[in-house]
Symmetry: none
Subunit: 227 residues, 2 copies
Amino acid sequence: MISVLLVEDDLDLAATIVDYLDIEDIECDHASNGLMGFNLIQTNQYQMIMLDVNMPKMDGLTLCKTLREQGIDIPVLMLTARDSLDNKLEGFDAGSDDYLVKPFAMKELVARVQVLAKRKSGEAKYLTFANLSLDLTQRSIMAAEQTLKLSPIALTILEVLMRAAPKAVTRIEIMKTVWGEDQPDSNSLKVHIYNLRKQLEAATNQVKIETIPSVGFAIKLNEGELK
Amino acid sequence: MISVLLVEDDLDLAATIVDYLDIEDIECDHASNGLMGFNLIQTNQYQMIMLDVNMPKMDGLTLCKTLREQGIDIPVLMLTARDSLDNKLEGFDAGSDDYLVKPFAMKELVARVQVLAKRKSGEAKYLTFANLSLDLTQRSIMAAEQTLKLSPIALTILEVLMRAAPKAVTRIEIMKTVWGEDQPDSNSLKVHIYNLRKQLEAATNQVKIETIPSVGFAIKLNEGELK
DNA sequence: ATTTCCCTTAACCCTGCCTTAACCCCCTCC
DNA sequence: GGAGGGGGTTAAGGCAGGGTTAAGGGAAAT
Protein backbone atom coordinates (compact mmCIF):
# COMPACT_ATOMS: atom_id res chain seq x y z
CA MET A 1 0.00 0.00 0.00
CA ILE A 2 1.42 3.32 -1.03
CA SER A 3 1.05 6.09 1.48
CA VAL A 4 1.74 9.69 0.52
CA LEU A 5 1.20 13.23 1.72
CA LEU A 6 -0.38 16.16 -0.09
CA VAL A 7 0.33 19.68 1.14
CA GLU A 8 -2.07 22.03 -0.60
CA ASP A 9 -4.14 24.99 0.56
CA ASP A 10 -6.79 24.79 -2.15
CA LEU A 11 -9.21 22.53 -0.34
CA ASP A 12 -11.31 21.67 -3.39
CA LEU A 13 -8.33 20.57 -5.40
CA ALA A 14 -6.96 18.71 -2.40
CA ALA A 15 -10.20 16.79 -1.93
CA THR A 16 -10.28 15.87 -5.61
CA ILE A 17 -6.73 14.58 -5.51
CA VAL A 18 -7.21 12.63 -2.31
CA ASP A 19 -10.34 11.00 -3.70
CA TYR A 20 -8.73 10.15 -6.97
CA LEU A 21 -5.64 8.65 -5.38
CA ASP A 22 -7.86 6.66 -3.08
CA ILE A 23 -9.46 4.98 -6.09
CA GLU A 24 -6.02 4.02 -7.28
CA ASP A 25 -5.29 2.46 -3.90
CA ILE A 26 -2.98 5.20 -2.75
CA GLU A 27 -3.46 6.40 0.79
CA CYS A 28 -3.12 10.16 0.86
CA ASP A 29 -2.92 12.35 3.95
CA HIS A 30 -3.56 16.01 3.52
CA ALA A 31 -2.14 19.13 5.15
CA SER A 32 -3.40 22.58 4.22
CA ASN A 33 -0.23 24.49 4.91
CA GLY A 34 3.49 23.97 5.01
CA LEU A 35 3.82 23.94 8.75
CA MET A 36 1.16 21.30 9.20
CA GLY A 37 2.80 19.32 6.44
CA PHE A 38 6.13 19.55 8.15
CA ASN A 39 4.73 18.17 11.37
CA LEU A 40 3.00 15.31 9.63
CA ILE A 41 6.21 14.36 7.88
CA GLN A 42 8.01 14.20 11.20
CA THR A 43 5.51 11.84 12.74
CA ASN A 44 4.48 9.67 9.80
CA GLN A 45 6.21 7.62 7.17
CA TYR A 46 5.39 8.66 3.64
CA GLN A 47 6.79 7.24 0.44
CA MET A 48 6.55 10.58 -1.32
CA ILE A 49 5.18 14.08 -0.85
CA MET A 50 3.28 16.46 -3.11
CA LEU A 51 3.85 20.13 -2.37
CA ASP A 52 1.98 23.13 -3.58
CA VAL A 53 4.34 26.05 -4.05
CA ASN A 54 2.03 28.86 -2.95
CA MET A 55 0.83 28.35 0.58
CA PRO A 56 0.27 30.28 3.78
CA LYS A 57 2.49 29.63 6.83
CA MET A 58 5.27 27.98 4.87
CA ASP A 59 5.51 27.72 1.10
CA GLY A 60 6.44 24.57 -0.74
CA LEU A 61 9.91 25.63 -1.74
CA THR A 62 10.90 26.50 1.80
CA LEU A 63 9.42 23.30 3.14
CA CYS A 64 11.30 21.26 0.57
CA LYS A 65 14.57 22.98 1.37
CA THR A 66 14.01 22.49 5.06
CA LEU A 67 13.45 18.78 4.58
CA ARG A 68 16.60 18.37 2.55
CA GLU A 69 18.61 20.30 5.13
CA GLN A 70 17.45 17.89 7.76
CA GLY A 71 18.63 15.00 5.66
CA ILE A 72 15.12 13.83 4.82
CA ASP A 73 15.24 12.68 1.23
CA ILE A 74 11.73 11.52 0.56
CA PRO A 75 10.91 12.14 -3.11
CA VAL A 76 9.05 15.43 -3.57
CA LEU A 77 6.70 16.40 -6.38
CA MET A 78 5.99 20.11 -6.80
CA LEU A 79 2.49 21.05 -7.89
CA THR A 80 1.98 24.56 -9.13
CA ALA A 81 0.37 26.79 -11.71
CA ARG A 82 3.65 28.52 -12.41
CA ASP A 83 5.02 27.06 -15.59
CA SER A 84 7.93 29.31 -16.42
CA LEU A 85 11.33 27.72 -16.77
CA ASP A 86 12.74 29.75 -13.90
CA ASN A 87 10.01 28.55 -11.60
CA LYS A 88 10.73 24.96 -12.51
CA LEU A 89 14.44 25.38 -11.97
CA GLU A 90 13.74 26.99 -8.64
CA GLY A 91 11.74 23.93 -7.69
CA PHE A 92 14.51 21.51 -8.63
CA ASP A 93 17.00 23.74 -6.93
CA ALA A 94 15.05 23.50 -3.69
CA GLY A 95 15.56 19.75 -3.89
CA SER A 96 12.37 18.52 -5.49
CA ASP A 97 12.33 15.46 -7.73
CA ASP A 98 9.61 16.36 -10.16
CA TYR A 99 7.55 19.34 -11.15
CA LEU A 100 4.00 19.17 -12.45
CA VAL A 101 2.17 22.19 -13.79
CA LYS A 102 -1.51 22.80 -12.97
CA PRO A 103 -3.85 21.98 -14.44
CA PHE A 104 -2.72 18.42 -14.97
CA ALA A 105 -4.40 15.16 -15.87
CA MET A 106 -5.14 13.06 -12.79
CA LYS A 107 -3.77 10.03 -14.55
CA GLU A 108 -0.44 11.71 -15.09
CA LEU A 109 -0.34 12.69 -11.45
CA VAL A 110 -1.02 9.11 -10.43
CA ALA A 111 1.68 7.81 -12.74
CA ARG A 112 4.24 10.23 -11.36
CA VAL A 113 3.20 9.58 -7.78
CA GLN A 114 3.62 5.86 -8.25
CA VAL A 115 7.02 6.26 -9.83
CA LEU A 116 8.25 8.65 -7.17
CA ALA A 117 6.95 6.52 -4.32
CA LYS A 118 9.15 3.67 -5.45
CA ARG A 119 12.17 5.79 -6.10
CA LYS A 120 14.95 5.41 -3.60
CA SER A 121 17.87 7.56 -2.75
CA GLY A 122 20.64 5.80 -4.58
CA GLU A 123 23.59 7.22 -2.82
CA ALA A 124 24.88 6.65 0.61
CA LYS A 125 25.19 9.64 2.88
CA TYR A 126 28.53 10.03 4.56
CA LEU A 127 29.95 12.27 7.19
CA THR A 128 33.69 12.39 6.93
CA PHE A 129 36.36 13.83 9.12
CA ALA A 130 40.01 13.05 8.59
CA ASN A 131 40.10 9.32 8.03
CA LEU A 132 36.80 8.76 9.76
CA SER A 133 33.82 8.08 7.60
CA LEU A 134 30.37 7.59 9.02
CA ASP A 135 27.80 6.00 6.73
CA LEU A 136 24.49 7.42 7.89
CA THR A 137 22.47 5.02 5.81
CA GLN A 138 24.12 1.93 7.22
CA ARG A 139 24.83 3.37 10.63
CA SER A 140 28.39 2.17 10.47
CA ILE A 141 31.66 3.92 11.00
CA MET A 142 34.99 3.30 9.31
CA ALA A 143 38.36 4.50 10.43
CA ALA A 144 41.07 4.09 7.85
CA GLU A 145 39.49 1.30 5.81
CA GLN A 146 38.38 -0.74 8.77
CA THR A 147 34.92 -0.65 10.24
CA LEU A 148 34.72 -0.35 13.96
CA LYS A 149 32.04 -1.50 16.26
CA LEU A 150 30.38 1.20 18.30
CA SER A 151 27.38 1.00 20.54
CA PRO A 152 24.31 2.89 19.37
CA ILE A 153 24.82 5.70 21.84
CA ALA A 154 28.51 6.04 21.09
CA LEU A 155 27.66 6.25 17.42
CA THR A 156 25.07 8.94 18.00
CA ILE A 157 27.53 11.01 19.99
CA LEU A 158 30.14 10.65 17.32
CA GLU A 159 27.59 11.67 14.73
CA VAL A 160 26.76 14.85 16.60
CA LEU A 161 30.43 15.68 16.95
CA MET A 162 31.19 14.97 13.32
CA ARG A 163 28.27 17.06 12.12
CA ALA A 164 29.61 20.02 14.06
CA ALA A 165 33.27 19.28 13.42
CA PRO A 166 35.55 20.86 14.27
CA LYS A 167 33.36 23.13 16.35
CA ALA A 168 32.48 22.37 19.93
CA VAL A 169 29.17 20.90 20.96
CA THR A 170 27.78 21.60 24.41
CA ARG A 171 26.98 18.82 26.81
CA ILE A 172 23.38 19.93 26.79
CA GLU A 173 23.13 19.52 23.05
CA ILE A 174 24.67 16.09 23.07
CA MET A 175 22.46 14.90 25.87
CA LYS A 176 19.41 16.24 24.13
CA THR A 177 20.06 14.47 20.85
CA VAL A 178 20.99 11.22 22.53
CA TRP A 179 18.38 10.93 25.26
CA GLY A 180 15.78 13.54 24.39
CA GLU A 181 13.63 14.53 27.31
CA ASP A 182 14.30 12.16 30.17
CA GLN A 183 18.00 12.05 30.65
CA PRO A 184 20.01 9.89 32.97
CA ASP A 185 21.03 11.61 36.20
CA SER A 186 24.65 11.15 36.49
CA ASN A 187 27.85 10.92 34.59
CA SER A 188 26.67 8.60 31.88
CA LEU A 189 27.88 10.95 29.20
CA LYS A 190 31.35 11.03 30.72
CA VAL A 191 31.55 7.29 30.48
CA HIS A 192 30.34 7.21 26.91
CA ILE A 193 32.86 9.84 25.89
CA TYR A 194 35.56 7.88 27.64
CA ASN A 195 34.68 4.67 25.86
CA LEU A 196 34.33 6.44 22.57
CA ARG A 197 37.76 7.97 23.00
CA LYS A 198 39.29 4.62 23.79
CA GLN A 199 37.84 3.05 20.70
CA LEU A 200 38.86 5.93 18.47
CA GLU A 201 42.40 5.88 19.82
CA ALA A 202 42.68 2.21 19.08
CA ALA A 203 41.54 2.75 15.53
CA THR A 204 43.22 5.93 14.41
CA ASN A 205 45.63 8.53 15.67
CA GLN A 206 44.54 11.24 13.26
CA VAL A 207 41.59 12.31 15.30
CA LYS A 208 40.89 13.15 18.89
CA ILE A 209 37.95 14.26 20.96
CA GLU A 210 38.91 17.41 22.76
CA THR A 211 37.32 18.62 25.95
CA ILE A 212 36.26 22.25 26.01
CA PRO A 213 36.18 22.95 29.75
CA SER A 214 32.79 23.77 31.15
CA VAL A 215 31.30 23.77 27.64
CA GLY A 216 31.41 20.41 25.99
CA PHE A 217 33.41 18.50 23.41
CA ALA A 218 34.77 18.87 19.91
CA ILE A 219 36.31 16.45 17.47
CA LYS A 220 39.61 17.65 16.07
CA LEU A 221 42.59 16.69 14.04
CA ASN A 222 45.38 15.32 16.13
CA GLU A 223 48.27 17.64 15.43
CA GLY A 224 50.27 17.09 18.56
CA GLU A 225 51.34 13.70 17.27
CA LEU A 226 54.82 14.76 16.26
CA LYS A 227 57.03 12.96 18.71
CA MET B 1 31.24 13.23 -11.76
CA ILE B 2 27.92 12.22 -13.19
CA SER B 3 28.03 9.83 -16.11
CA VAL B 4 24.93 9.20 -18.19
CA LEU B 5 23.82 7.68 -21.48
CA LEU B 6 21.77 9.21 -24.26
CA VAL B 7 20.07 6.94 -26.76
CA GLU B 8 18.79 9.08 -29.62
CA ASP B 9 18.80 8.67 -33.40
CA ASP B 10 18.58 12.36 -34.23
CA LEU B 11 22.29 13.08 -34.41
CA ASP B 12 21.97 16.85 -34.35
CA LEU B 13 19.87 16.84 -31.23
CA ALA B 14 22.14 14.27 -29.68
CA ALA B 15 25.22 16.37 -30.32
CA THR B 16 23.54 19.41 -28.82
CA ILE B 17 22.57 17.53 -25.70
CA VAL B 18 25.97 15.94 -25.24
CA ASP B 19 27.67 19.31 -25.61
CA TYR B 20 25.33 20.99 -23.23
CA LEU B 21 25.65 18.33 -20.58
CA ASP B 22 29.39 18.49 -20.95
CA ILE B 23 29.32 22.15 -19.98
CA GLU B 24 27.39 21.20 -16.87
CA ASP B 25 30.05 18.68 -16.00
CA ILE B 26 27.97 15.66 -16.90
CA GLU B 27 29.71 13.00 -18.93
CA CYS B 28 27.34 11.75 -21.58
CA ASP B 29 27.83 8.73 -23.83
CA HIS B 30 25.71 8.46 -26.92
CA ALA B 31 24.11 5.57 -28.77
CA SER B 32 22.14 6.14 -31.94
CA ASN B 33 19.78 3.21 -31.61
CA GLY B 34 18.26 1.00 -28.96
CA LEU B 35 20.45 -2.00 -29.58
CA MET B 36 23.65 -0.03 -29.32
CA GLY B 37 22.28 1.56 -26.19
CA PHE B 38 21.50 -1.81 -24.72
CA ASN B 39 25.04 -3.00 -25.27
CA LEU B 40 26.55 0.11 -23.76
CA ILE B 41 24.39 -0.28 -20.67
CA GLN B 42 25.64 -3.82 -20.20
CA THR B 43 29.27 -2.84 -20.27
CA ASN B 44 29.29 0.59 -18.62
CA GLN B 45 28.05 2.08 -15.40
CA TYR B 46 25.66 4.93 -15.89
CA GLN B 47 23.80 6.85 -13.22
CA MET B 48 20.83 7.45 -15.52
CA ILE B 49 19.71 6.98 -19.09
CA MET B 50 17.85 9.20 -21.55
CA LEU B 51 15.82 7.34 -24.14
CA ASP B 52 14.22 8.60 -27.30
CA VAL B 53 10.99 6.76 -27.97
CA ASN B 54 11.17 6.57 -31.77
CA MET B 55 14.25 4.79 -32.90
CA PRO B 56 15.39 2.22 -35.42
CA LYS B 57 16.52 -1.24 -34.28
CA MET B 58 14.88 -1.02 -30.88
CA ASP B 59 12.57 1.75 -29.71
CA GLY B 60 12.84 3.41 -26.33
CA LEU B 61 9.82 1.77 -24.76
CA THR B 62 10.99 -1.71 -25.61
CA LEU B 63 14.49 -0.97 -24.42
CA CYS B 64 13.16 0.36 -21.14
CA LYS B 65 10.96 -2.68 -20.61
CA THR B 66 13.87 -4.97 -21.40
CA LEU B 67 16.05 -3.26 -18.86
CA ARG B 68 13.42 -3.54 -16.15
CA GLU B 69 12.89 -7.18 -16.89
CA GLN B 70 16.56 -7.77 -16.41
CA GLY B 71 16.44 -6.15 -13.02
CA ILE B 72 18.36 -3.07 -14.06
CA ASP B 73 17.02 -0.19 -12.04
CA ILE B 74 18.94 2.72 -13.45
CA PRO B 75 16.61 5.74 -13.66
CA VAL B 76 15.26 6.32 -17.19
CA LEU B 77 14.12 9.59 -18.69
CA MET B 78 12.00 9.38 -21.83
CA LEU B 79 12.54 12.07 -24.45
CA THR B 80 9.94 12.37 -27.13
CA ALA B 81 7.86 14.70 -29.22
CA ARG B 82 4.70 12.78 -28.37
CA ASP B 83 2.91 14.76 -25.73
CA SER B 84 -0.45 13.04 -25.47
CA LEU B 85 -1.45 11.68 -22.09
CA ASP B 86 -1.62 8.15 -23.42
CA ASN B 87 1.91 8.37 -24.68
CA LYS B 88 3.13 9.56 -21.32
CA LEU B 89 1.31 6.81 -19.49
CA GLU B 90 2.76 4.29 -21.89
CA GLY B 91 6.18 5.60 -21.02
CA PHE B 92 5.67 5.25 -17.29
CA ASP B 93 4.10 1.88 -17.85
CA ALA B 94 7.23 0.69 -19.60
CA GLY B 95 9.10 1.49 -16.41
CA SER B 96 10.49 4.92 -17.07
CA ASP B 97 10.95 7.42 -14.26
CA ASP B 98 10.33 10.68 -16.03
CA TYR B 99 8.97 11.92 -19.32
CA LEU B 100 10.09 15.08 -21.06
CA VAL B 101 8.37 16.39 -24.18
CA LYS B 102 10.41 17.81 -27.06
CA PRO B 103 11.17 20.53 -27.55
CA PHE B 104 12.39 21.18 -24.05
CA ALA B 105 14.66 23.73 -22.42
CA MET B 106 18.17 22.41 -21.96
CA LYS B 107 18.20 23.72 -18.42
CA GLU B 108 15.17 21.69 -17.52
CA LEU B 109 16.78 18.60 -19.00
CA VAL B 110 19.88 19.19 -16.93
CA ALA B 111 17.85 19.64 -13.76
CA ARG B 112 15.95 16.40 -14.33
CA VAL B 113 19.09 14.51 -15.26
CA GLN B 114 20.80 15.62 -12.08
CA VAL B 115 17.86 14.64 -9.95
CA LEU B 116 17.51 11.23 -11.54
CA ALA B 117 21.21 10.49 -11.39
CA LYS B 118 21.07 10.66 -7.61
CA ARG B 119 18.24 8.20 -7.26
CA LYS B 120 17.53 4.58 -7.86
CA SER B 121 14.47 3.63 -9.83
CA GLY B 122 12.12 1.27 -8.09
CA GLU B 123 10.78 -0.02 -11.37
CA ALA B 124 12.87 -3.11 -11.91
CA LYS B 125 11.09 -6.44 -12.15
CA TYR B 126 13.91 -8.27 -10.44
CA LEU B 127 15.94 -7.39 -7.41
CA THR B 128 19.36 -8.94 -7.07
CA PHE B 129 21.83 -8.92 -4.25
CA ALA B 130 24.85 -11.19 -4.25
CA ASN B 131 23.49 -14.54 -5.38
CA LEU B 132 19.96 -13.71 -4.36
CA SER B 133 17.47 -12.86 -7.05
CA LEU B 134 13.93 -11.85 -6.29
CA ASP B 135 11.33 -11.92 -9.04
CA LEU B 136 8.82 -9.23 -8.14
CA THR B 137 6.27 -10.25 -10.75
CA GLN B 138 6.13 -13.87 -9.67
CA ARG B 139 7.01 -13.18 -6.07
CA SER B 140 9.63 -15.86 -5.98
CA ILE B 141 13.14 -15.85 -4.69
CA MET B 142 16.20 -17.75 -5.88
CA ALA B 143 19.43 -18.25 -4.07
CA ALA B 144 22.23 -19.57 -6.22
CA GLU B 145 20.12 -21.18 -8.94
CA GLN B 146 17.69 -22.80 -6.58
CA THR B 147 14.36 -21.32 -5.66
CA LEU B 148 13.51 -21.24 -2.03
CA LYS B 149 10.17 -21.24 -0.41
CA LEU B 150 9.37 -18.23 1.71
CA SER B 151 6.13 -17.23 3.31
CA PRO B 152 4.49 -14.08 1.91
CA ILE B 153 5.52 -11.96 4.85
CA ALA B 154 9.09 -13.21 4.86
CA LEU B 155 9.28 -12.40 1.19
CA THR B 156 7.99 -8.88 1.72
CA ILE B 157 10.55 -8.26 4.44
CA LEU B 158 13.30 -9.56 2.21
CA GLU B 159 12.04 -7.33 -0.58
CA VAL B 160 12.23 -4.25 1.61
CA LEU B 161 15.73 -5.15 2.68
CA MET B 162 16.88 -5.90 -0.84
CA ARG B 163 15.45 -2.68 -2.21
CA ALA B 164 17.44 -0.74 0.34
CA ALA B 165 20.51 -2.98 0.29
CA PRO B 166 22.91 -2.58 1.90
CA LYS B 167 21.37 0.28 3.78
CA ALA B 168 19.66 -0.10 7.09
CA VAL B 169 15.89 -0.18 7.21
CA THR B 170 14.16 0.83 10.41
CA ARG B 171 11.76 -1.48 12.17
CA ILE B 172 9.03 1.11 11.67
CA GLU B 173 9.53 1.10 7.92
CA ILE B 174 9.46 -2.66 7.69
CA MET B 175 6.35 -2.90 9.81
CA LYS B 176 4.67 -0.21 7.79
CA THR B 177 5.24 -1.89 4.46
CA VAL B 178 4.34 -5.32 5.73
CA TRP B 179 1.28 -4.59 7.85
CA GLY B 180 0.30 -1.04 6.97
CA GLU B 181 -1.83 0.65 9.56
CA ASP B 182 -2.95 -1.97 12.05
CA GLN B 183 0.15 -3.76 13.10
CA PRO B 184 0.41 -6.80 15.32
CA ASP B 185 1.22 -5.94 18.93
CA SER B 186 4.06 -8.08 19.78
CA ASN B 187 7.23 -9.53 18.49
CA SER B 188 5.92 -10.88 15.24
CA LEU B 189 8.63 -9.12 13.32
CA LYS B 190 11.31 -10.72 15.49
CA VAL B 191 9.98 -14.14 14.66
CA HIS B 192 9.79 -13.43 10.96
CA ILE B 193 13.34 -12.13 10.91
CA TYR B 194 14.45 -15.19 12.79
CA ASN B 195 12.80 -17.54 10.34
CA LEU B 196 14.00 -15.57 7.37
CA ARG B 197 17.54 -15.72 8.67
CA LYS B 198 17.34 -19.45 9.16
CA GLN B 199 16.14 -20.02 5.63
CA LEU B 200 18.71 -17.70 4.13
CA GLU B 201 21.50 -19.37 6.04
CA ALA B 202 20.40 -22.73 4.77
CA ALA B 203 20.40 -21.50 1.19
CA THR B 204 23.44 -19.30 0.88
CA ASN B 205 26.37 -18.14 2.93
CA GLN B 206 27.06 -15.07 0.81
CA VAL B 207 24.43 -12.95 2.47
CA LYS B 208 23.39 -12.14 5.97
CA ILE B 209 20.78 -10.02 7.69
CA GLU B 210 22.51 -7.77 10.12
CA THR B 211 20.89 -6.19 13.15
CA ILE B 212 21.47 -2.48 13.55
CA PRO B 213 20.85 -2.03 17.27
CA SER B 214 17.95 0.21 18.15
CA VAL B 215 17.40 1.00 14.48
CA GLY B 216 16.47 -2.00 12.41
CA PHE B 217 18.04 -4.39 9.97
CA ALA B 218 20.18 -4.42 6.84
CA ILE B 219 21.06 -7.09 4.35
CA LYS B 220 24.77 -7.37 3.74
CA LEU B 221 27.43 -9.41 2.09
CA ASN B 222 28.88 -11.96 4.38
CA GLU B 223 32.55 -11.10 4.54
CA GLY B 224 33.50 -12.84 7.71
CA GLU B 225 33.18 -16.20 6.00
CA LEU B 226 36.87 -16.84 5.51
CA LYS B 227 37.50 -19.88 7.62
C1' DA C 1 -14.54 -32.15 7.14
C1' DT C 2 -9.74 -32.46 7.31
C1' DT C 3 -5.35 -31.05 6.51
C1' DT C 4 -1.81 -27.95 5.94
C1' DC C 5 0.53 -23.91 6.31
C1' DC C 6 1.24 -19.48 8.16
C1' DC C 7 0.91 -15.99 11.25
C1' DT C 8 0.58 -14.41 15.87
C1' DT C 9 1.40 -14.64 20.66
C1' DA C 10 3.57 -15.42 24.91
C1' DA C 11 7.31 -16.97 27.48
C1' DC C 12 11.97 -17.50 28.29
C1' DC C 13 16.94 -16.89 27.59
C1' DC C 14 20.95 -14.35 26.96
C1' DT C 15 24.11 -11.03 25.53
C1' DG C 16 26.09 -6.88 26.00
C1' DC C 17 24.96 -2.06 26.61
C1' DC C 18 23.86 1.47 29.81
C1' DT C 19 23.88 3.30 34.13
C1' DT C 20 25.64 3.96 38.52
C1' DA C 21 28.69 4.87 42.02
C1' DA C 22 33.19 5.31 43.61
C1' DC C 23 37.68 6.87 43.21
C1' DC C 24 41.25 9.37 40.83
C1' DC C 25 43.77 13.45 39.19
C1' DC C 26 44.61 18.16 38.44
C1' DC C 27 43.75 22.79 38.70
C1' DT C 28 42.12 26.88 40.97
C1' DC C 29 40.84 29.63 44.49
C1' DC C 30 40.62 30.52 49.06
C1' DG D 1 48.20 23.83 51.88
C1' DG D 2 43.60 22.38 51.76
C1' DA D 3 39.10 22.21 49.76
C1' DG D 4 36.21 21.91 45.96
C1' DG D 5 34.91 21.36 41.30
C1' DG D 6 35.42 19.65 36.80
C1' DG D 7 36.77 16.01 34.34
C1' DG D 8 38.82 11.06 33.64
C1' DT D 9 38.91 6.01 34.86
C1' DT D 10 37.14 1.74 36.46
C1' DA D 11 34.24 -2.09 37.52
C1' DA D 12 29.84 -4.02 38.87
C1' DG D 13 24.99 -4.80 38.27
C1' DG D 14 20.57 -4.29 36.14
C1' DC D 15 17.99 -4.45 32.45
C1' DA D 16 16.28 -4.03 27.82
C1' DG D 17 16.52 -5.48 23.35
C1' DG D 18 17.03 -9.00 20.51
C1' DG D 19 17.05 -14.21 19.72
C1' DT D 20 14.77 -18.64 20.32
C1' DT D 21 11.08 -21.82 20.91
C1' DA D 22 6.62 -23.83 20.94
C1' DA D 23 1.73 -23.67 21.03
C1' DG D 24 -2.68 -22.19 19.21
C1' DG D 25 -5.83 -20.33 15.81
C1' DG D 26 -7.46 -19.15 11.34
C1' DA D 27 -7.69 -19.30 6.37
C1' DA D 28 -7.07 -21.56 2.25
C1' DA D 29 -6.65 -25.84 -0.06
C1' DT D 30 -7.89 -30.66 -0.72
